[in-house]
Symmetry: C2
Subunit: 459 residues, 2 copies
């Protein structure tokens, strides 16, 4: 059964690629209202595909125009284990569009890479799972275990619907293991299993000064410039030297890194030189006392994502803008609570805000960090599948990114959970020229085929 499924996967590689290309051409940007129809289109495309390959149950759950796709095949019998797979079909916005070398929704193959928004995050990875299911269902008429599949359309906008669904419909999602397929390997020959994810607290602040934009010639010096205040507020969030977040209580719930995990991290090929190469930065920077990979995975951080207001066109305009705003977010680690952090940050900012302006603080999203015991048997099962498909055992680490539903799945399902994937660090996630490395895609399909077989064997 395994060898037939593998043979099917290899024989149909070009067909899988063609189907993925169709899916990538649908601009399912969950964040932008003008793509509402595309969101439904992408969800329906997937539902139709899953029905055609033989999933016995396919449901589209409306979620504010970004349907949640639930599919299942549960005919392996009550004694067979049940695996819950998770992926998402929504993608990030494409701006800055001018920096794309190929149109983001015209998937373009260049050598071994397929360029398109969502190619890696997460349509390509999700589709690798679907292809593995197809390989079994079409070659053997069945799967080796029971499988439930969740593909959401709100990963890039906080997973609001799914997070409620997981709590309210936890019985429907009952399973023996969860694999979240939305992650990167370390290199095309070094897979990675992640046993944690950082949380995120995303905030937007606005500083309002004069009632209207003013001319700096008429009032400059006598009236507060919202940008001058905003710069001070943002600069005051982080120490210039140690890069520690200066908000009182920010680190209170952070656990010190255990020596065992420190060793695990130090053993990875992710030293400073590697990160320098991956980022193209003149030099790395980060919190004093931690290695670069520790800073990027197990330590909390704060990043400003955008600042707006005033005059930013060509040339010069001497305006004192009435308002200035900034978006920033903090990656959080266990056991930082994003809502507590949001409150602390707001208090800190309010204390620093002079009475010459008014400050508005909004929390745009709050996602809890999560960590799983990396010594669970599930990690071994997954490792064997990677070994079989990629010829290499995966490294183990906590991820620096955020999967809002990871903590929710943990709470609701009480099943072991791992974060896996087939992306690469240079896939340009959330950036121009996102791509999928096709050898990873093809090996990813095989890895999932092996994984299903291995879960049946281990049961």
């Amino acid at each position: 059964m395994l060898s037939n499924a593998l043979a099917y996967a290899r024989e149909h590689a070009q067909m899988f690629l063609a189907s993925l290309t169709e899916l990538l051409a649908i601009p399912s940007v969950s964040m932008e209202p003008e793509h509402a129809a595309d969101m439904v289109h992408a969800a329906e495309w997937l539902a139709d595909y899953l029905q055609r390959i033989g999933m016995s149950e396919v449901d589209l759950l409306p979620s504010d125009g970004r349907p949640l796709l639930y599919a299942a095949w549960q005919r392996a019998g009550p004694d067979a284990p049940t695996l819950l797979l998770y992926g998402h079909y929504d993608v990030q916005p494409v701006d800055p569009l001018a920096e794309w070398r190929t149109p983001p929704f015209t998937p373009t193959r260049l050598g071994d890479d397929l360029f398109a928004r969502g190619a890696s995050d997460d349509k390509g990875q999700t589709f690798a799972c679907i292809a593995a299911l197809e390989a079994y269902l079409q070659s053997a008429g069945r799967l080796p275990i029971n499988v439930k599949l969740i593909i959401e359309g709100e990963e890039e906008v906080s997973s609001t619907f799914l997070r409620r669904f997981v709590v309210e419909q936890s019985a429907r999602l009952a399973c023996d293991a969860v694999l979240l397929v939305d992650s990167s390997m370390l290199s095309p020959t070094l897979p990675l299993v992640m046993y944690g994810a950082r949380g995120n607290c995303y905030m937007e602040i606005e500083v309002v000064g004069p009632a209207t934009d003013l001319h700096s010639g008429a009032f400059g010096g006598a009236v507060e410039n919202p940008f001058n205040v905003l710069a001070r507020l943002l600069a005051g969030l982080q120490d210039a030297q140690t890069r520690r977040v200066l908000v009182d209580g920010f680190y209170d719930a952070v656990h010190p890194l255990q020596p065992e995990e420190q060793t695990l991290l130090a053993g990875l090929p992710l030293n400073e030189a590697a990160l320098l190469h991956m980022t193209g930065a003149p030099a790395l920077a980060g919190e004093t006392g931690y290695s670069a990979i520790e800073r990027a995975t197990v330590r909390p951080t704060l990043d400003i994502h955008g600042i707006s207001g005033g005059f930013t066109g060509p040339g010069k305009k001497t305006v004192i803008p009435a308002r200035a705003s900034a978006k920033f977010s903090m990656r959080l680690v266990p056991d930082q609570d994003p809502l507590v952090i949001a409150r602390l940050v707001e208090e800190h900012l309010r204390c620093q805000t002079p009475p010459t302006v008014t400050l508005t603080v909004k929390t745009l999203s709050a996602s809890r960090p999560a960590v799983v015991d990396y010594r669970l048997p599930l990690m071994q099962t997954v490792a064997q599948a990677y070994q079989a498909a990629f010829g290499a055992a995966p490294a183990l680490m906590r991820g620096g990114g955020t999967l809002p539903i990871m903590a929710d799945f943990q709470d609701a399902l009480a099943a072991p959970l791992a974060l896996i994937g087939f992306g690469l660090p240079d896939d340009n996630l959330h950036a121009p020229n996102e791509k999928l490395h096709l050898p990873c895609f093809y090996h990813g399909i095989e890895m999932m085929v092996h994984c299903l077989a291995q879960l049946a064997t281990d049961a």
Copy 2:
């Protein structure tokens, strides 16, 4: 001759308004290349108008697509004094367009105000001068004195051509007095004569970190975020408490305010309450140790005008942008040299920039401050003309804004000079909903009629 000219001015008020409306409908935004044709159109409209009313010499000097208009009438005889009048026909960009209540280039009268970009700065004021010349030329066939008129199209973009012209063609501009007509009164019943202007040093800086936009989940904490650095650099330019600019040497050339001028300023109806009302800010702010009006006129300052980069759309995107940039400028007072200040600021910023990013610093423009002796007879002449037209003697102060050519005129022409105007502090210069208060426009025409007569009498 004076009474006929005044009668003409009053009888033709509606015609002047109609002509000004035509001029305001031409979107002569000097800063935006897409308005190149409009610049030429506005200049030609003015040249044509000046020819029709009887100016004996009208020249359009090409200036990189923003022609400089020179006109003269020199038939008052060699013993009559010569007045040089200055105005400009270029206007500021209109953004943010959404905040305009009426279309910026569809002049719209609401009550006593005419709303349009450039209505006050400076088409309305310039046209008031032209209307006064017309009143004499059409009612008497001559002017009481010799007049030269410069109307430039580059005031909002650093007056590059005019500044060279003033030096190279100073003989052509030889005169006995200069009036720069590009300013505001304190209220519709309180005129203002300015005897100085602040300089300006406008800079743009860019901070570049990683080679491309990165995902803060993948690299946040380990790579420098250009925005985090930019916020620190900008915050580090000014002391949070005293609001003093923290650049070494910034204040070295600043003269302490003389008690006589301090008294002059304190006597103006520009106290904190007035400035609060004018700006609509929750509270005023500024350099410790100075009154609000001192801060806005005779003290140097620093204002951030715009910050760009990263993600600023709706929703959230967890990007570490590859680059972030900011525009800011400093208003300067005698004897600060804008090029020296630019160098000091660049040195300061470079010292504060960590090796984790690269910094680019550009000086977009550098204009010298200027001050004239406010006890010169010209000030009295002008005051009498204001008294006659507005029924009130003007206040005297230095202006907080910048007229790049003021210092150049002083150097090249060795003639007394004053900055006058018919705008109002709430005209929304450089901001949405710019307007001209029509009673000021009509009285402004009469003031110029009186001024020409008074200069003939005083000679």
